[in-house]
């Protein structure tokens, strides 16, 4: 349970830490007494929670992560969640959540992830996370995208359907009974 608790906020910290070297993108924001970092082994880069930008993550990788929280001592109740923000009015989609009791304040590990091929590459999305433990509370968000080309089955299909529906719209403008 303790491991799960610390893993929870470490995941938040690590998620918040997925920051890019790319400039000109939305900043990563973290509020609260949390620290975190993640080293992408295939990607060959390390990010931490103080950097800014958009994270470009490989579709599959192993991340060596560390996370810590300060300002809490002894056994405390904890809870947290990670969500992906969707366009309004859909709100956000929960990826994971956790709760329990722990006295740990830091943790580290290696996490393997493999994003399904059905998720299109090069699409920016915002991941937001929060973790509360005792009186301490952390929250933050980061903009991320999967590394890859914009030209894929999704974009080509979307362009084809744009043309088809554009044609349909064009013909909707034909006068009734006209030539």
């Amino acid at each position: 349970m303790v491991r799960r608790a610390v893993l929870g906020f470490a995941v938040v910290c690590a998620a918040i830490a997925f920051v890019p070297a790319a400039a000109g993108a939305a900043p990563t924001v973290i509020n609260g007494p949390c620290e975190g970092s993640g080293a992408f082994q295939k990607g060959g880069f390390t990010v931490n929670a103080t950097e800014t930008g958009t994270v470009e993550v490989p579709r599959t990788d192993d991340v060596s992560w560390t996370g810590s929280i300060t300002g809490v001592t002894g056994d405390n109740a904890y809870s947290g969640s990670i969500e992906v923000e969707l366009p309004p009015p859909f709100g956000s989609m929960s990826i994971d959540s956790w709760s329990g009791t722990t006295d740990a304040t830091s943790n580290s590990g290696v996490k393997h992830y493999d994003i399904p091929g059905a998720v299109p590459a090069n699409v920016e999305f915002t991941v937001k996370g929060s973790h509360s433990q005792g009186t301490a509370s952390c929250s933050g968000h980061v903009t991320a995208k999967i590394k890859g080309s914009s030209v894929n089955a999704f974009s080509v299909g979307s362009v084809a359907l744009t043309l088809l529906t554009g044609l349909g719209l064009l013909f909707a403008g034909r006068a009734k009974g006209g030539i």
Binding site: P89, N122, S155, S158, G168, A172, R174, A175, K176
Partner: protein
């Protein structure tokens, strides 16, 4: 009120603008949480209805004879 096809205009306007929004998303122009993804399809309905109301394609000419007017009755030439 509608010279063209209003229902088709609304449906195809919605779909056309929806796929334009998806094009912008898939080519990295807008992020997943952009309000444009929900606004553009709604704009598409309005544009589709307006397009069907105007119906500029295949409109009957203003100077030519209407197809609804019957041709003049045939009168045989005087003998």
């Amino acid at each position: 009120m509608f010279k063209g096809h209003a229902v088709r205009g609304a449906i195809f306007g919605f779909l056309f603008f929806l796929f334009i929004a998806l094009d912008l998303l898939f080519f990295g122009v807008i992020p997943l949480d952009s309000a444009l993804l929900t606004i553009l399809p709604l704009v598409g309905i309005v544009v589709g209805l307006a397009w069907a109301a105007v119906a500029p394609l295949g409109a009957k000419g203003t100077t030519g004879a209407s197809a609804d007017v019957p041709p003049p009755a045939y009168q045989p030439p005087p003998a």
